[in-house]
Amino acid sequence: MGEMLEVRKLSKYFGGLPALVNVDFTIAPGEIVGLIGPNGAGKTTLFNVITGVFRPTSGEIHFEGKNLVGLKPHDICRLGITRTFQVVKPLPKMTVLENVMVGAFARVGTKEEARAIAVRELEFTGLLPKRDALARSLTLADRKRLELTRALATRPKLILLDEVVAGLNPTETEETIALIQRLPERGIAAVAGVEHVMRVIMTISQRIVVLNYGRMIAQGSPEEVGHNPEVIQAYLGEAYAET
């Protein structure tokens, strides 16, 4: 399996504080990877480093053979990696359609082309009926969905989803998971960052990466990770790790 994204010995320190230490993983085209870690484990930092918001302290990131270190977020988006934000960032005074058109302009130059792409992506995520609503009037669930739609409109090969299901009720969570499951059929790989070892993430992910205090404590199939003593310890405490 040819790897699309390769992260090698990636570290990020804020002053003396280690946010990421020697993180090492790869992602293949069309693969869904669950990135699990408790609050403060370094998931958002990892996304920020991959997308060029922060420069890594050391280590390498290669995407389709190209070195990403030192590139700006907009360069990385154009190479095919996009993201959503833990704290959603809609463009509040623009409509849903306009939000998604902004994403589409990453690949096309005219309003007509951008509108066509945006409408198609809004259909895919089911937000089309709300196309004329202002983004600031949406519920949290819809804002998250809008961010996903907008990210898809940039035609990514890899999409990094920060806290995809945080704050969503069970129905909304199911809907979001169903959407993510349909990404591989479009050739899009996804990293879904979540705080808890949730069954939903376990079922859709081919692979799970677990972060704790900036270190990668486990990597493997959902089955393996679920039985890993270190993972159990990180989530449930030492008492449970022995059994």
Binding site: R83, V102, G103, A114
Partner: protein, 327 residues
């Protein structure tokens, strides 16, 4: 469809506006009123230029007088010292504004926060002091007296119409395109904009260059019309930099018609109050800003449009596939 109707209304409005503007000095021969109309056109140009950067791209400048003065001094010095004709000189004034804008934007737009706003303030004060003290070039505080180019106000009036129309048209074309979407996205959320592939530094710079170009052209135009400039006038913080903000904020930031309404209000008020209050017109500016922010944070056009018909709303036209094509 809705978009068709809106587009139709826009054309009706534009044609009506053109007829009124072109016919005004023929119908109204009063020289004082013609003078006020010229000031109005000047302020439409300045407010629209500031609004492109501040209202659409969200980059607030506290020192746009820097570009105004740059344009005024460039064309005036070329005319007074080298005999270079003032109307092509106006274009060179605009270019000088852009040359000033590029390093400012390149340095400041990499940073976030109030750096750009404050750097502009510093730049305009710096240029005022240079103009005041570099006497060999600028005549310092004595100022530059220009031979009037036209006796009648009519040519000035029509050049003012052309300048204001060009500024508004450029803004319209720009904001109705990909660039406009990108500027709004930067204003709304810069992190999101970057993540969506927008080179935020570059697009902010594009907005600044366009804004500086038209502001500097307006400076050249003003110098030609008044036939006299000195540093305190063309680098004035209050009467230019702050007044430009007031025109855009009062009229409606991020709307095409906002600065037109703002210009109308400010020219009328400053003329009305000048006779009675003299320097106290500053108080009026202050009160106006407070009233606008408290009661109509979206400005006159923004507030009216939010309650009025949909086609009036200050939005980028996208609802119907029929809008905004073919130009």
């Amino acid at each position: 469809m809705l978009g068709q109707g809106r587009r139709g209304w826009r054309w009706v409005g534009a044609i009506l506006g053109a007829v009124v503007l072109l016919g005004f000095p023929i119908v109204v021969p009063d020289v004082y009123l013609q003078h006020l109309a010229i000031l109005f056109l000047l302020w439409v140009t300045l407010g629209t230029s500031w609004n492109l950067l501040g209202g659409y791209a969200g980059q607030i400048s506290f020192g746009h007088a820097a570009f105004f003065g740059m344009g005024a001094y460039t064309s005036s010095l070329l005319f007074a010292k080298l005999g270079f004709p003032p109307w092509p000189g106006m274009l060179l004034g605009g270019v000088a504004g852009v040359l000033l804008a590029v390093p400012m934007g390149y340095i400041c737009f990499r940073l976030r926060g109030p750096f750009f706003a404050l750097s502009m303030l510093a730049l305009s004060e710096f240029l005022r002091l240079v103009a005041l003290n570099w006497r060999d070039l600028t005549e310092g505080a004595v100022g530059i007296l220009l031979p009037p180019f036209f006796i009648s106000k009519l040519p000035y009036y029509y050049i003012g119409v052309a300048l204001a129309a060009a500024t508004m048209l450029a803004t319209w074309v720009l904001v109705d395109s990909k660039v406009g979407f990108y500027l709004l996205a930067i204003r709304e959320d810069q992190d999101a904009a970057e993540a969506l592939g927008i080179d935020t530094t570059w697009y902010k710079l594009v907005a600044l260059m366009a804004s500086a170009f038209f502001t500097a052209m307006a400076g050249s135009y003003y110098a030609n019309y008044m036939a006299y400039i000195d540093p305190p006038i063309v680098f004035s913080i209050v009467d230019l930099s702050i007044a430009m903000i007031l025109v855009a904020v009062l009229g409606g930031m991020g709307t095409l018609l906002g600065p037109v309404v703002g210009a109308l209000v400010i020219v009328t008020l400053s003329e009305a109050f000048r006779a009675y209050f003299a320097a106290a017109h500053l108080i009026v500016y202050g009160v106006l800003i407070i009233v606008a922010i408290v009661f109509m944070p979206e400005g006159i056009v923004g507030s009216l449009a939010a309650r009025g018909p949909r086609w009036l709303r200050p939005r980028v036209a996208t609802e119907a596939p029929a809008t905004g094509t073919g130009h």
